[in-house]
Every structure is written in C-alpha cells, then in structure tokens.
C-alpha cells in the first residue's frame, strides 16, 4: 500500500514524506520478520519486570529506593534500559553488522539520501522504545504500580532520549571495525554504566552519583522519574545532559561513519 503510494507520486513535496514512510515501512518489515531481534528486544525487559514484580510487589515506599516502592523504581530504570537497548544497543549491532555484510553499501548505491536512511532507523527505534515502555508500564500496573498521567511529558522524554541514544549508537557503530565485536563493545560500554547509574540497584554514594550524573544513563533515569512516577512535566535539566551526549555521538557518527567495510 505504502509502496504504491510512494512509487506513484512524482510530486516533489510529497516525495520527502513518502520516502520516509517507505523507509520506515521496510525497516518495520525487516525487524518484525526476524524473530530473533523482535523477541530479544521485548523479552528481556518484560521478563525482568515480571520477575521483579513477583518478588517485590509487597514492598512499600522507602528512602533506599529514592522514596519510591521498589517496583516503581524498577519500572523506571527498566523502562530506561529498554530504550537504551532498542536505540543504542540495537543500532550499534545492526549498523556494524549491516556494514560488514554489505547491506549499507547496497543502500548507499541507491539515491536514498543518508538522512532519510537514518531518519527511518530513528523512527523505527523510537517506535520499539514506545512499545517496550508501554509493555513495562502495563506489567507494572498488574503489580499495583499506578499508571502515569503526564503523557505529553513521557512522549517528549522518550522521543528525545530515543534520538539521543540513537545518536550515541551511530557514533559507537562508526568506531567499531569488526561486526563480530559489536555486541561485546556495546555491552562493555553499557554494563558498568548501568551499574553506576543505579539501573540495577540504587546508588547512595555521593561521589559516584556525581560522576554518573555527567554520563548519559543516570540523567535519563532521573528524567523518567518525574513523568513516570510523580506526574511531573519534562525534566529539561536532565534531558539536556542526555541531549549533549546524543549530539556528541551524532557528531562522531557524521565525522567517522563508513558505508563500506574496511578494505584490508
């Protein structure tokens, strides 16, 4: 349906939108048809929240969990983790792999502009993030975590964060030479960061929190806290830190990104 609409439209001003829709549509097809990527992206956060919910659903609010119930805390950090996974994690691995097996070269051989290719990827990653966060929120609700009410703030936060972590993903992907190493490199960067950012356990060290506050993950957790648990608006201060990292990643990406495998 979309294909027909795009190929049948010679009009220039419809072309930009058509091209994006076309690209987005085929990214969706490639993603959902691949059972491995689809299951991996959704299974981990869902299983994690379910297990935590079953274990900790009785816990009340405590200062250890920053004044939240344990489950409330984990709904937030796992929501953030799922965005990281579907944007940063997915892009580093996918792009390095697509470059290595020549898919990027094939794309670059067509008149598709680079921005449209990346916009299609970004839209795809954002959609997957939204679905992930909705699933996590729904499971949290089953275990008694109240639904958030500030949808606008959530949408803004997620969209901005998705864009930034996609930028970081492209940046890291453009520095990875060997696709076989991509998952390891992506995890190597992410795993310690998750720990010191309080994703798995709350951190009560001032020094650690200060350091983590300048890295991208903790500010994103903080930025989700208001809209998801406190019915607050977008947390611009923390989002600004995330945005700075996203821009840095995008700059590295624009500077270093390669479409063809490195020739030895």
């Amino acid at each position: 349906m979309i294909t027909a609409a795009v190929t049948g439209l010679p009009a220039r001003r419809h072309r930009t939108f058509g091209l994006l829709a076309h690209q987005f549509w085929y990214e969706q097809l490639s993603f959902w048809r691949n059972p491995q990527s689809a299951i991996f992206t959704f299974a981990f956060p869902v299983v994690f929240v379910t297990v935590i919910g079953a274990l900790l659903s009785g816990g009340g609010r405590s200062s250890y969990f920053a004044g939240l119930s344990p489950l409330q805390y984990y709904v937030i950090t796992i929501a953030a983790l799922s965005v990281l996974g579907s944007c940063y994690g997915q892009l580093t691995v996918t792009l390095a792999l697509r470059r290595q097996n020549g898919i990027l070269k094939r794309v670059r051989a067509t008149p598709l502009p680079a921005w449209a290719y990346f916009a299609g990827l970004l839209a795809h990653c954002a959609l997957v993030s939204f679905i992930d966060v909705a699933l996590i929120g729904a499971i949290g609700r089953l275990f008694g975590v109240p639904f958030p009410s500030s949808w606008f703030a959530i949408a803004v936060t997620l969209l901005l964060a998705a864009a930034c972590f996609c930028g970081l993903g492209v940046g890291v992907a453009s520095m990875i030479r060997n696709a076989d190493a991509a998952p390891a490199v992506a995890q190597l960067v992410l795993f310690p960061l998750l720990f010191i950012s309080g994703t798995y356990l709350p951190i009560h060290s001032q020094a650690l929190n200060r350091v983590a506050g300048w890295l991208p993950v903790r500010p994103f957790n903080e930025a989700l806290l208001g809209p998801l648990a406190l019915h607050a608006g977008p947390d611009w201060k923390h989002l600004a830190v995330v945005a700075a990292w996203g821009c840095a990643g995008a700059v590295v990406g624009i500077w270093r990104f390669r479409w063809i495998p490195r020739s030895e």
């Binding site: 294909t3 190929t7 010679p10 085929y26 020549g102 051989a109 067509t110 479409w259 063809i260 020739s263």
Partner: protein, 314 residues
C-alpha cells in the same frame, strides 16, 4: 561530456599500499567495457572510486559528466547509475518482491518491478524470502537491484560468478539487450570468455596500472601476433624437410608463424608439390587468455625487478 566515463592518472593508496598507481581509460556512451586483471590489480578500488564509495588520492574522474568524488552531486549520480555488487547484501527476511519494491522506491523514475523480475528470470519467485533463494537466484536478484533504477550506466562487478552455464548465457543475453537499449556498461570479470563475448573493449589492469587496452580480439597486439599452425607430419618426411622451422608436439608438428597467410601458402605449396596431405591442419591464434596471462605476468615481473634494488639497499 564526450564520454560516459573518463579516468586519467587515477591514484589511491591504503596506508603504504598503493592499490591504484596510474589508471586511465575512457568508456563511450552505449559501449560495454570490461576491466580485467588479477586479484589485487586495483579493479575493485577503481570501480569503488567511480561509484562514489571511495575518495581518490589524485587524478581525474568523470562519470556521466559528474565528479563521483563530489558529495553534492552524489544523489544525482546515483539516480542515474546502477550497481551490481559482488555479494548480495539485502535483508534476508524480505521477499524478492519486497526487496525490489524497496529499492524501486528510492528512485524518481524506476523501471516497473514486474518488468525487472521478468528480465532477470525471477518470475514465480516473488513471494519467496531472500534467505530461501539459491546462490544463482540471489545473483539474479542482485542484477535486478542494479536495473531497477533504469540506469544510463551500469557497473557490473563479476556479474556471473556462481552462475551455471545456462544462467550465464541468460545473463549475457540480458546484458546485450541492455546495450541494445543504449545502456553503457562497465564490468569486471575473471571469466575471459565473458569479456570476449560481451565487451566492445577490454582494459587490462595489473599492479594498479593499465597495461593494455583495446578490442578483445586485438588486445596485447594479438591481431598482429603470430599464429600456431599444426598438422600431422606426412609419412616419410622429417621435421627438417619442411620449408619453415617447426617443432614436434603431441604427435603433430607446430609451425609458429608471424605472417600466417604467407606461412600457409608455403606449407600448402610444399605439400602440393610432393602430393601429400597435411592431415588435421589447424590454425590457432593465441586466445584472449594467452594475451592476458602474458600481459599480467610481464607487468608483475617488471614490478618485482623495480622493487629489487630497494631490497638490496636494506
């Protein structure tokens, strides 16, 4: 713009390795030119520079009147050229039809998908996933992706590697049909029979430079060069009785002649006067393969001797 492709003094190094040191050739509109050369001769690098994938270190390149190294005209160039790459690289979970439809959406004026599917012989496979295709079918899909944009100029990088004999002849027919429609084609191949069958001209690369250029029948001075005339020696005669120097090989004698017509005349007159026949008389010109091996060997050994003094200094 007199040529579809014009290259002069092209240079490209990777670190200390000079992949292309001096490549220059032209391709006229509507022509099929084959780029030949052993692995590492610089074919792929040259092609990738012309396709806009790599920046050159020096020299002049023009493709359809545009500089492929100029990013601002990259989209226009890619709208007008088609590429068939060495490996099929598309999403494995899409169907043939989807893969072609996806690529078609990137062009302003693509060929109809239906037409391209028929052209490459994938009719009936439209609903199959790419991952389920055979090697030959994947190559056909690759060909389809090169054609979907209805290009003026087509780059074919080893287009029939992995094809069986019938599939190769189908592909050759298709390439000839495209030439008939006015498409200019630059192809690389290791199959010299293919170059002979398709190309109007061949350009032979060795060690990063052009070592010969010309019609496939003439390259390496082949049309001027000698032919081998072989026949069975008539009973009662020895090699030294013949009017021309000859050698015995595989139960026959072989005369290496630089002027084939004159040599044949002398031999047949000799036989006629003695009333004998030259059984199994065959005239063999060196094949493109002979010329190619000769050219590329020569270039490599020259390269080696040029390196030699450097080694002794160290």
């Amino acid at each position: 713009m007199t040529y579809a492709i014009e290259v002069a003094g092209l240079r490209k190094s990777y670190g200390s390795v000079q992949a292309v040191r001096d490549v220059g050739f032209t391709v006229r509109f509507g022509e099929i030119v084959a780029l030949l050369g052993p692995n590492g001769a610089g074919k792929t690098t040259t092609l990738e520079i012309l396709e806009g994938f790599r920046d050159r270190d020096g020299g002049f390149t023009e493709v359809l009147g545009l500089d492929p190294g100029d990013r601002s005209s990259g989209r226009e160039l890619r709208e007008r050229i088609g590429l068939v790459l060495q490996d099929l690289a598309v999403e494995p979970y899409l169907t043939v039809r989807e893969t072609i439809g996806r690529a078609a959406g990137y062009y302003l004026a693509p060929r109809p998908a239906r037409q391209v599917i028929d052209m490459v012989g994938l009719a009936g496979q439209e609903r199959r996933k790419v991952r389920a295709l055979s090697g030959g079918q994947k190559r056909r899909l690759d060909l389809a992706l090169g054609l979907i944009g209805n290009p003026e100029l087509l780059f074919l990088d080893e287009p029939t590697t992995g094809f069986d004999v019938a599939a190769r002849h189908d592909a050759w027919q298709l390439i000839c049909r495209l030439r008939g429609e006015g498409t200019t084609i630059l192809l690389t191949t290791h199959n010299l029979e293919e170059a002979q069958a398709l190309a109007d001209r061949v350009v032979v690369l060795s060690a990063g430079a052009v070592v010969a250029e010309g019609a496939p029948g003439a390259v390496g001075g082949r049309d001027a060069e000698h032919a081998s005339i072989s026949f069975a020696l008539p009973d009662g005669y020895g090699v030294h009785d013949l009017p021309l120097p000859a050698r015995a090989a595989n139960g026959a004698v072989v005369v290496e002649a630089s002027n084939t017509t004159q040599a044949l005349l002398e031999l047949t007159q000799w036989a006629d006067r003695r009333g004998v026949v030259l059984a199994g008389l065959t005239v063999e010109r060196p094949t493109l393969e002979d010329a190619y091996l000769h050219l590329t060997n020569q270039a490599t050994s020259q390269g080696a001797s040029a390196d030699a003094p450097e080694r002794t200094i160290r």
